[in-house]
């Protein structure tokens, strides 16, 4: 370990001597610190980025400055985004491209209490369904609209309280996050009905890495190094969960975000599963063209966008 460290330091030192400072990359995940981004934290923590030859700074978004804002303002070089968010927000102004697709699977689901009478997806018709006020509503709405259900969408900030007090009949949640919050608020899994979007033909990939097109042209090598370091970080997180969770909890405490080990541990396990392509005919980190088209069609048919991109315009992997 010490020898490894020494080698690393030596390497960095030589790099500094040779090229002066390491090229700097500012990365912004699309949400506050949590296990969802454990791979980036571990890549930084374990020096994988430095070993790749870049100096990475992770800056989280805030309520007033979202990841996309930071990218637009060029305060961040790379951001993570849901595939659907990226496709919905890509514009001439925010000319971003996907350089790597981390998540291959959808973690979205509707959850209802068994007592609510919603036993099958059809039962959602004419029901009140909670949905994030801040976005990520495209896929749930597409799923509901494709079945011609009438749904009263109730905007919810971020808590599960509306669900807990029966303010909604069902709620849109992430498997790795809000679902576990409900469990941690006293509901047992057997008291809940779950409708995973992936089971209804909407296995839309989520987290991916994005940068501006011009950054890709100018700094392709640095981006490649970032992606390589990131995957090493995820690999490390997978093999060293305890250490990883300790880092995540530390970062969350520093940011005064209430959390606990049980929840972050659940989240890490689930996020790691999402990275695996499974039956999809792509490698880890690749975006399947079919997923791209399916996602873009959801947005187009939902009238979120009026212009379609070519796959090659959107997906420019930096392998």
């Amino acid at each position: 370990m010490n020898r490894k460290k020494t080698v690393t330091i030596l390497f960095i030192f030589i790099s500094l001597l040779s090229f002066g400072q390491l090229p700097k990359i500012t990365f912004t995940p699309h949400w506050l610190p949590q296990s969802q981004f454990a791979g980036y934290y571990m890549a930084l923590e374990k020096g994988f980025y430095e070993q790749e030859g870049i100096d990475v700074d992770i800056v989280h978004p805030s309520a007033s400055l979202m990841a996309t804002d930071r990218l637009l303002k060029e305060e961040s070089d790379i951001i993570s985004l849901f595939l659907i968010t990226a496709l919905a927000t890509k514009s001439e102004e925010l000319d971003m491209v996907n350089i790597s697709q981390l998540s291959q699977n959808s973690a979205l689901l509707f959850v209802s209490k068994k007592g609510s009478g919603i036993k099958s997806i059809e039962d959602l018709n004419n029901k009140r369904i909670g949905i994030w006020e801040s976005g990520f509503d495209e896929v749930p709405k597409a799923l509901v609209n494709s079945n011609n259900y009438k749904v009263d969408w109730i905007p919810i900030l971020s808590s599960v309280n509306m669900f807990m007090i029966d303010g909604v009949d069902a709620m849109t949640v992430m498997w790795y996050n809000e679902y576990d919050q409900i469990i941690n608020s006293g509901f047992n899994p057997d008291e809940l009905n779950t409708f995973l979007f992936s089971d209804y033909g909407y296995n839309i990939p989520e987290d991916g890495l994005y940068c501006l097109n011009k950054t890709l042209i100018q700094r392709k090598d640095d981006l490649r190094k970032f992606v390589a370091g990131t995957f090493r970080g995820w690999e490390y997180a997978k093999e060293n969960k305890e250490e990883t969770l300790a880092v995540v909890l530390r970062l969350m405490t520093e940011e005064h975000i209430p959390t606990n080990l049980a929840h972050q541990s659940w989240m890490l396990d689930q996020v790691l599963k999402l990275i695996e392509p499974g039956i999809k005919s792509v490698e880890k980190g690749e975006l399947a063209e079919s997923d791209f088209h399916k996602t873009q069609n959801i947005l187009y048919e939902g009238k979120y966008i009026d212009k379609k991109y070519q796959f090659s315009e959107f997906y420019k992997p930096v392998k």
Partner: protein
């Protein structure tokens, strides 16, 4: 010595062991009962105590909550009943904050576009910022208060709502909960929801109340919110970070999760739970106004600590008591059984023949005294008995020695030198007498009456032992005195009978055979007085019983007249005389030797000289009798006639 010591030791030890075992058993049972019931009563006390503590704590918190709720209820009434002047509302929020030091902020939030000229958002808000009070209006594109829990939940459920606790990061940095109540207006005859009044309440007072709850050393109280979030807990890291359910997941405690669910449902109950290897009794009860729940935790180890210490002391005392008891019991028993040891020694001495050995002195009037008396009695009896035994033994020895002498005398009476008449070549003769007891009643005799006549006789006196032997001696003596002058067997027998029968008060009798052989010719005259018929062994091989005179034994009737018969032995003929001791010899199966077997035996050895013939018959009888005790005298006499001298000479 060793024996007595062992009895003493083992008895004492055994008694001590029994007493001790029973005491230990009693003690364990009593202790178990004591422990069990004490534990139960402690648990009961704890439960009562828990009830008191939780109720008291709940009461204190409810007071604050009620007071807070009242403030808003009053304003709600005001807003619903009066015409609302939107510009005066900020003053109300200010007043609420100003006049209630525990209130950190207050807002009156309206539905979108309620006041058309105020736009989408209208929410006058006043909050405490350290020492100053700041007023402002909430709501913009980045702060859609309509989706905030404090607005959205009461608006949706149309009921007052205490929010989940949260950190007021901007202002006091304290833990805060908001209490919101929806209010309505009747517009165009329709009652419509128009907004909520809310106040932010710092939870420091709750933390104060709950943290003051102290139970024993490490017991404590905690409050969880509706969702199970820790609002207060001695471990600050749990507050807001954990729900009771996530904590249960981390501790891998299914029980804690179940307790959490019951608390969430507003139940009041007790439960036992193990958290981080510590056993607790949890008493929980809801804070009904806010749907929160209070738990008081009692550390079991500490609850039972006094009981444990009492029990430990008790065990220690009892152990000391048992040790003392052992010593005392051992001493007492040893002392009590000490005479036994002495008695054992005495018994040993007595066994060694020392009857005058002194017995231990017993002063008590108990079983020991009885034992002592028994010993004295035994000692005396044994002494007498041994004395008697000595006398009897010496008497017996004397009799035995006399009997031995009598036997010698008796045996001395009958001729025992064989061959008896080496010069008399006409005959050879052999006889044996083996008495069943020391002295017997059988007799045989032979003697030369003159140069040509040999008298031979065999007899069996009725009965056995000394009387029979005496009678036999008399018979034999009489025979010797009567025979020398007489050649007729019947005359001799008659004479014998007369002498014996005369004054025969003991009524003893003798079966008797007497023969006189003429040596020259082998002619024999004989008289048989009730005796077994002798066997005539012909030289040619024929073996048969001699025809006998049918006369009664001698000694019975004085006047009885005995007959005589005559027969002749051819050269090399033999005659065998015997008593019934031979033919009636019994084996273990009570089978007799029998006449037939005698004849058979003789037939086998008929060519043997008298001595060998008799020895063979004796061996055959011994073989028949085997180990069975000899019950009668065994007597045999055999004569072989070798042929007359003259005839021999003539030949």
């Amino acid at each position: 010595m060793k024996l007595s010591f062992n009895i003493n030791k083992s008895l004492a030890m055994r008694l001590v062991l029994y007493v001790l075992s029973f005491c230990v058993f009693l003690f364990i049972v009593s202790l178990a009962f004591f422990y069990f019931f004490s534990k139960q009563s402690i648990e009961k006390m704890t439960v009562n105590n828990a009830e008191a503590i939780t109720q008291n704590t709940v009461l204190q918190t409810e007071q604050v909550l009620i007071a807070t709720e009242k403030i808003l209820t009053n304003y709600k009434w005001l807003f619903e009943s009066k015409q609302l002047n939107c510009d005066s509302l900020q003053a109300i929020t200010k007043l609420i904050v100003k006049s209630n030091p525990e209130i950190m902020g207050s807002a009156i939030a309206f539905e979108p576009n309620f006041f058309p000229d105020k736009g989408r958002y209208f929410c006058p808000y006043t909050y405490r910022d350290k020492d100053s009070i700041v007023s402002m209006y909430l709501g913009n594109a980045n702060y859609e208060y309509f989706v905030m829990d404090w607005y959205q939940v009461p608006a949706t459920i149309n009921k007052a709502y205490w929010t989940e606790p949260y950190f007021d990061e901007g202002g006091s940095n304290a833990l805060i909960t908001s209490y919101s109540i929806p209010f309505h207006k009747t517009i165009n005859g329709e009652k419509k929801f128009v907004g909520v009044i809310t106040i932010d309440l710092s939870l420091s007072w709750l933390t104060d109340i709950v943290s003051k709850v102290s139970v024993l050393e490490s017991g404590y109280a905690a409050v969880i919110s509706r969702n199970g979030t820790f609002v207060t807990h001695p471990n600050n890291e749990l507050i807001m970070n954990h729900t009771i359910f996530s904590y249960a997941a981390e501790l891998n405690s299914v029980e804690l999760r179940e307790i959490g669910r019951k608390m969430q449902k507003g139940e009041t109950d007790f439960a036992s739970v193990n958290l981080k290897n510590t056993n607790w009794i949890i008493s929980y009860t809801p804070l009904t106004l806010s749907n929160w729940s209070l738990a008081v935790l009692f550390p079991k180890a500490e609850m039972y600590a006094p009981l444990r210490s009492i029990t430990t002391t008790l065990i220690l005392l009892v152990v000391i008591g048992l040790i003392l008891l052992t010593i005392v019991v051992y001493r007492i028993v040893t002392e009590q059984v000490a005479p036994l040891r002495l008695f054992a020694n005495s018994a040993h001495e007595v066994a060694n023949g020392n009857f005058n050995n002194e017995l231990p002195e017993i002063t008590t009037e108990d079983e020991m005294k009885d034992l002592h008396d028994s010993f004295v009695h035994m000692q005396g009896d044994l002494k007498n008995y041994i004395e008697n035994l000595k006398n009897t033994t010496s008497a017996k020895e004397k009799i035995e020695s006399e009997l031995r002498i009598a036997r010698e005398i008796q045996m001395g009476m009958i001729p025992k030198i064989f061959p008896p008449f080496p010069n008399v070549t006409e005959i050879d003769l052999y006889a044996m007498l083996e008495p069943a007891k020391e002295v017997g009643g059988d007799l045989y005799d032979f003697f030369l009456i003159d140069d040509e006549h040999l008298c031979f006789a065999i007899g069996d006196v009725s009965g056995k032992g000394v009387p029979a032997s005496l009678f036999m001696a008399v018979t034999r003596t009489l025979l010797r005195s009567v025979a020398p002058n007489e050649l007729s067997p019947s005359v001799i027998v008659n004479s014998l009978n007369k002498s014996l029968a005369f004054g025969n008060e003991s009524s003893m009798f003798v079966t008797f055979f007497l023969g006189i052989i003429e040596l020259k010719t082998g002619r024999i005259k004989y008289t048989n007085a009730g005796h077994n018929p002798p066997v005539h062994v012909h030289a040619g091989g024929e073996v048969k019983f001699l025809p006998i005179t049918k006369d009664i034994p001698i000694g019975l009737f004085e006047e009885f007249s005995y007959q005589e018969k005559e027969m002749k032995l051819k050269p090399h003929d033999k005659m065998l005389l015997y008593t019934d001791g031979i033919t009636e010899a019994e084996n273990k199966n009570e089978e007799l030797y029998s006449d037939q077997r005698l004849i058979n035996c003789i037939s086998i050895y008929l060519r043997k000289p008298p001595k060998e013939l008799i020895q063979h018959i004796a061996m055959d009888v011994a073989e028949h009798v085997q180990d069975n005790q000899q019950s009668d005298d065994l007597t045999m006499l055999s004569i072989i006639f070798n042929g007359g001298k003259k005839e021999k000479n003539n030949a």
